[in-house]
Amino acid sequence: MASRFAPLVLAGLLITTATALAGAPASPELIIANQRFSPQELPLPPAIKVRLVIRNQDALPAEFESYDLSREIVVPGHSQVTVYLGPLPPGRYRFFNDFYQAAEGWVVVSALPAVPEGN
């Protein structure tokens, strides 16, 4: 019996941990400076909703847009906006500045740590 439920318990623990982490204040930030995104690859945890803050340090307005994430938001100069993302399946999601399309970046969602099977 116990061994049969072990994976379930483990999964439950993982979800609890993930949820606890999600509740933590640390919301990832994306900076726009000199018409570039930084970081260009933004790692995000899988399977939870994330509050992403996008900060535009330039004087020029930018538009954060992503077909992959289905997100679109103008970020006026010297201001910051909030975008909720996910829960996302693992993968790479491209985003770009619609007002300056040479600027692009990726949201990288890593795979969930594998749950060992059958013990």
């Binding site: 909703k49 509050r51 803050v53 004087a59 020029l60 307005p61 930018a62 538009e63 077909y67 992959d68 994430l69 289905s70 997100r71 679109e72 938001i73 103008v74 970020v75 006026p76 100069g77 010297h78 201001s79 910051q80 906006v81 909030t82 975008v83 909720y84 996910g86 829960p87 996302l88 399946p89 619609d98 007002f99 300056y100 399309q101």
Partner: protein, 288 residues
């Protein structure tokens, strides 16, 4: 210049297509041209206003103000389009044969002229404000003024041209099917805008995603491509929809469609002559 033209074109296109479909669908309603023109003028003013206060809007509601604002005006457009379509389903048949009577009804204030104004206003304001911000960014970034002006004009002209072509194309539809086709187009447009609104509410954290990327057809038809974008505007095509977007799309589609049927059937019962008059419609509407 080309890059400017392309972006201007994309922003203008969305407004132009919506206006074209709405103009087609309201064919035969007296005074619609003036109300649509008014909507465009107010939309341009609104766009400048939204652009001017972009930072205030963006930073309100803890940085989700813009998504909420977009969602609200999209839902307003959805409500107006639904009203327009339901109203047309009760009058559409008669419009074809009795333009004068409908003009009279509209003058007496029974009609969706306000809806036409709001729909055009929203379409122009939403895309226009992004355009104004983009052009400002471009100008402030030190773009050459001549090239920029050329790009703006080319983009505007191309976007407007596609709108005109769509409208002229719609007019080729035989009058017998005309209002069924435009009604169907408006229905899909409405559902698509509702799905967009759901996306913005999810982006602002007000609605759950109910599954991100239920499916992914971007390898078949990318939303960044021209056909993908046309379909996105006209029928709400989304390459990677979320559950909440699908729910809003289907929910809006079914609700408005059901109301159209119910209202249409009631109208047919009240005016049994409408069906008989239908036979003559082909010859009667050539002038409008």
């Amino acid at each position: 210049m080309l890059a400017t033209a392309v972006i201007v074109f994309r922003e203008v296109l969305e407004a132009a297509l919506i206006v074209a479909v709405v103009l087609g669908a309201s064919r035969g309603i007296a005074g619609r041209g003036r109300w649509v023109a008014g909507g465009i003028a107010l939309g341009v003013l609104g766009a400048c206003g939204v652009a001017a206060f972009a930072d205030l809007i963006a930073e309100s509601f803890s940085g989700t103000g813009q998504a909420l604002f977009d969602a609200v005006i999209l839902l307003a457009a959805v409500a107006m389009l639904a009203w327009h379509n339901i109203w047309m389903s009760s009058r559409g048949r008669r419009l074809a044969v009795d333009v004068a009577a409908v003009g009279h009804e509209v003058r007496n204030g029974t009609k969706p002229l306000v809806a036409l104004l709001v729909i055009t206003l929203v379409a122009v304001m939403r895309e226009g404000s992004e355009l104004v911000l983009f052009l400002w960014a471009l100008a402030a970034g030190g773009a050459q003024h001549l090239g920029m002006a050329g790009g703006i004009l080319a983009g505007l002209a191309a976007g407007a041209l596609v709108g005109v072509l769509l409208y002229r194309g719609l007019l080729f539809i035989p009058i017998r099917y005309f209002f069924s086709v435009t009604g169907g187009l408006i229905l899909l447009l409405t559902a698509g805008l509702a799905a967009q609104a759901a996306g913005f509410l999810n982006q602002a954290g007000w609605l759950p995603a109910l599954g991100n990327g239920l499916w992914d057809t971007s390898s078949i038809l990318s939303q960044a491509s021209v056909p993908g974008q046309l379909l996105h505007i006209l029928v709400g095509y989304i390459a990677r929809p979320s559950g909440i977007q699908l729910l809003f799309y289907v929910g809006t589609l079914l609700t408005v469609f059901t109301l159209m049927r119910v209202v249409g059937r009631q109208a047919a019962r009240i005016r049994p002559t409408a069906a008989k008059l239908d036979a003559h419609t082909d010859t009667q509407l050539t002038g409008s």
